[in-house]
Subunit: 251 residues, 2 copies
DNA sequence: GGCCAACATTCCGTATTATGGAGTATAAAT
DNA sequence: ATTTATACTCCATAATACGGAATGTTGGCC
């Protein structure tokens, strides 16, 4: 066509992935016209791509001719989760054993944070984190640890595209403030978050350096239990876990 | 090229999906040469496709340059699971409430069976089924109910490609015997399975007719509790659930 | 530490392949 | 029954993906 100064990639594959993601974002179901409108591509093109995906079970066609996410995605998602999760879960469990609070492993997926590993604390009151859940990174300690691994320009792009919804009064909603804070995260090698996601919840996260994709390990718990002493005690434990995870995920 | 009388689809998209599936089957990691060898395509072609998938986070590159499944697949798998699961879980829970044994919803994904919905029985001894898990269909009541919806030729293809490993002495390992049994499943509209997957476990499944993709609902429990009386009682309950699920998944 | 082999990556001319405008079929709406 | 909206098919065109050849990289071996 005309203006594309991109490093490119295979066009039709990119378009097919766009379709899957559009349907996901639309809540799991879309009509052909809707996909066509949302992507700006003509209907025959969309139809051909969609047909390919349906044949392969990545999408399925509903009785009313609309299209929905297909069953093939489920085992693949599981396998991807295992690739991160199963290798890290014993290490996260070890963190929980030593610290007593819930531990998570998070990755960056596009502009969002996705939890790829998890070990719950043996407590009645604890964070409930769903594996595979994807959330905004700006209000998570793990998100800060992840974004600290990128340069400021990329971070601003993520914040702009993904937005910075305020989940509590303490949530940082200003990109400049957030970028400033990343500088100290980089300096200390540790990210903190106090009540920015949910009131009364405090988190602490470390980047997993030298790993395949950007990752971060975190612990989270009620502010009352996440004392300064506990956090100081937790940092070396998390650091050790982060190093082990980097090794594990290398192959 | 030469001989392909297939209904086609977009070539490059199909190849990209092949790559994802190859890596999945290989246990989550593959080198470029391996993918090239396994797919029969030249390395530059593979490389270009892989690059596209890496850019989009569907794959990731390990430090040793090998390729692994990427984080993007995780939320998509979750979303696909929800599309089936969340809409069916309350219905499955209702089945459990009325029958007292674990209920599952299964779909056919290629040659394998994948669990897309689940409600555990309120019992200490119960089936443990992982959502998204994929298993061979030949030794499951739900598998029989699913395959009964296909014609015999397709069934034989699935059995040949996927194989029929014997999990217990009772597992059916002969395609002819299996296909014969499907005839009575079609006639009765109900599939039974006694100890073919695990000794002492009995299952009962019904196809979900008129649904988007092929689905089946099943209950499973210890043979001692899955009496003839219970099964007779369960059939209308499962039939009702199947009809409701078909409606729910239509949109 | 330098050499070699294996693998990953980039280049680029070619034609196969995806593209999308025009047209047809199908379903829902009135 | 007629209209309208959407899904699906055809097919000539050229843009796009292709893959052979050449170049970088990396890790193993002497």
């Amino acid at each position: 066509m005309a203006e594309h100064t991109r490093p490119a990639g295979v066009q039709s594959v990119g378009r097919a992935l766009d379709i899957i993601e559009l349907i996901d974002q639309a809540g799991g179901e879309m009509a052909l016209v809707e996909i066509s409108a949302a992507s700006g591509l003509p209907m025959p093109t969309i139809h051909r791509l969609v047909r390919t995906l349906v044949d392969r079970n990545y999408l399925r066609q509903l009785p009313d001719r609309r299209y929905a996410l297909g069953a093939r995605l489920i085992p693949l998602g599981n396998a991807a989760l295992d690739a991160f999760g199963s290798r890290s879960s014993s290490l996260l469990a070890e963190v929980v054993r030593r610290i007593g609070e819930s531990a998570n492993l998070a990755a960056l997926d596009g502009d969002m944070l996705v939890y790829v590993g998890q070990a719950p604390a043996p407590r009645a009151m604890r964070m409930f984190t769903q594996l595979g859940q994807h959330v905004h990174p700006h209000c998570r300690a793990a998100g800060k640890a992840l974004l600290a691994q990128l340069d400021d320009e990329q971070v601003r792009g993520i914040l702009t595209r993904g937005g910075m919804p305020a989940l509590t009064p303490a949530t940082i909603t200003d990109p400049d403030t957030f970028v400033d804070q990343l500088a100290s995260v980089r300096a200390e090698g540790v990210a903190h978050e106090v009540g920015e996601m949910e009131e009364g919840v405090t988190c602490l996260a470390l980047p997993v350096l030298g790993a395949t994709s950007n990752l971060a390990v975190s612990i989270s718990g009620p502010a009352s239990r996440m004392t300064e002493t506990l956090q100081q005690h937790a940092i070396p434990v998390l650091r050790e876990a982060a190093e082990e995870i980097a090794v594990q995920l290398a192959g």
